[in-house]
Symmetry: C2
Subunit: 401 residues, 2 copies
Amino acid sequence: MGVAQADVVARATWSALVEPGDAVAGVLVDLLGAGPALGWVRSAVRDGPDLEQVERLHGPLVDADRRRLGRSVERWAARLPDCDPGRDLERLDRIGGTLLVPGDQRWPTALDDLGAEAPFCLWVRGAADLGAALERSAAVVGSRAATSYGERVAFDLADGLSSAGVRVVSGGAYGIDAAAHRGAVARDGRTVVVLAGGVDRAYPAGNARLLEAVVGAGGALVSEVPTGSLPTKSRFLQRNRLIAAAGRATVVVEAAWRSGAMSTAHHAARLLRPVGAVPGPVTSMASAGCHRLLREGVAVCVTDAAEVRELAGLIGVELTAGVDADRSADLRSARPQDGLDPVVRRVLDALPRRVPAALDRVASMAGVSVTEARGALGLLELDGWAEQRGAGWVGARIGTS
Amino acid sequence: MGVAQADVVARATWSALVEPGDAVAGVLVDLLGAGPALGWVRSAVRDGPDLEQVERLHGPLVDADRRRLGRSVERWAARLPDCDPGRDLERLDRIGGTLLVPGDQRWPTALDDLGAEAPFCLWVRGAADLGAALERSAAVVGSRAATSYGERVAFDLADGLSSAGVRVVSGGAYGIDAAAHRGAVARDGRTVVVLAGGVDRAYPAGNARLLEAVVGAGGALVSEVPTGSLPTKSRFLQRNRLIAAAGRATVVVEAAWRSGAMSTAHHAARLLRPVGAVPGPVTSMASAGCHRLLREGVAVCVTDAAEVRELAGLIGVELTAGVDADRSADLRSARPQDGLDPVVRRVLDALPRRVPAALDRVASMAGVSVTEARGALGLLELDGWAEQRGAGWVGARIGTS
């Protein structure tokens, strides 16, 4: 694995010592390394924080940073006696789990985008090669209080993504999360469930059978907190940042005006991951958050698995054929020019069929600049959509049948 | 009225002589005036087109323009003998209608944005002051093949817009058009129906009673073709540009992937009018066009009448209170900061509640530049949302209750 066992244990300890997303701890571990940073904390608890050691690596600290570090040490000191990585790792062994740490080839480097808030390690039950799994992935998230419409869409999206080899990432909650995992399990089972508590705790209990099915079918349960940990409200919120970082894109299927899925979407946007939102009836409050994301420009409108793959940059030629055949009859009748750039399409639509139009006339009809029209006409001519006749342009025949 | 009767008759003749949206005729009328342009056509039919007269006003014509003008004259010559403005105006009188021409105080100047493709005149049945009516207006359009969801949304939007004093503009078709007019009629009746055929012809016949109700309740039926004219396919398409130009914004409630409502949306976009699309279930092909407009960035997501008014720039303080009270309970619980600029909101969301964060830290948490964060914090401080403490910033109390 190429990672020292001491580092593994130190990181397991950190994951028990601090709450997820603790950036002060993250900076300390980045500066000193996980093991030495733990040693620094132990000394700090005994003798007070050695700020000079930190400043040697970090540069001068402002007063606010010093105070923040001091308060953090106090907080950690309270929990240090309860940390028992041996016990936690033994629990993990008992369920056949794996502890992944950065440097392990199976570590999903996408999480490094979280910077100082990246997890120290991942407690994994099931298929442990998360690096490979998340290479082609999309987070599919949404409300617990989902409608049957939302659950159906989540199931279908996960089904479509799985059949295109895209791994689904979601939480373990009722509603959209569960529907997405069910859709993936129904197809090939390899889905990634990110839990807010320990991977040995099925939470919520009603999803226990689904979580077992995920593990049994080749998927993974993942958490940044040790085995035995309880899922708390703040851990749920921090868990959302992991889901956002793990997926190449995040899609919100249904979400109320304010909800956890909305926070996942904003985490993804902050990480510069593409965000998609599935529209729904405006009369459904379960879709109000999705519509809000669309209105505010945070999310792009997505309506099927192919559009999610496009969003995530995962349209691979080798995989598209089968999935695109699944699209509706209406889409199947789409003309070839539907894939064109909007400006080019507008120029194409503006082209007269018979009487040639001058360049500036085409531009004005299309509502584009003369320069844009010139470029678009060049492209259209190359593809046989436009034809120059005398001083003007006409649309070519092949587009009109 | 301040418009010479000769101009009225000439424009009535032009509206019968050429098909809607004939830009060659539009340029000729703009250059010579409606009456003289008609004289020019009569001479052209007898003696061939007097290109010199046109060039004196227009500047030199290129060969393509000369040929185009020649062909237009041929086309008009064929129809000239059948033009009988006296008969058409008498039919209009019989139904108590009004012919509006540019220069009339009641002329809706918004249509002038169509340039050479603006209508020569409007044949109106019902309330003739379209200029005043369209001052505060929104086009609500969509498919004939609407679902009950779409019809309900169109009805509710039109109801909400009407109660805020915003005039609804739509076609006279079954489905979304009819539902929108019904919603407006149910509220105050003053809605604008733009027809593709003559205003004395109820088309489709099944909407005859609705069209009568519109006129009876103070609304208007409008067409750019004379009384007695048949609605043809091309007139339906051209009618869409009138709807797009008449509304301050255009909202598509339901539309299939390709449909007339999509063309109206694109006309509106070309006229730089804001375009809205109402989302719906992704499983409904009747919403596929709306989702396409959202995906392609042509339209903004709108879910209720208040959002349509915002889109159209018609949020007037004096009128909002009553309508906003109609919004859902969920929206009523929205925090005051929901109206903030997205950058400012992100900075606000990133502000710590207790431990002050330095400017660059706030910027990084919010995912904005330091300059943006500085500006946003200034605004937030002014409004009492943010507070400077030492070298850092915290969120103020008033936003958290």
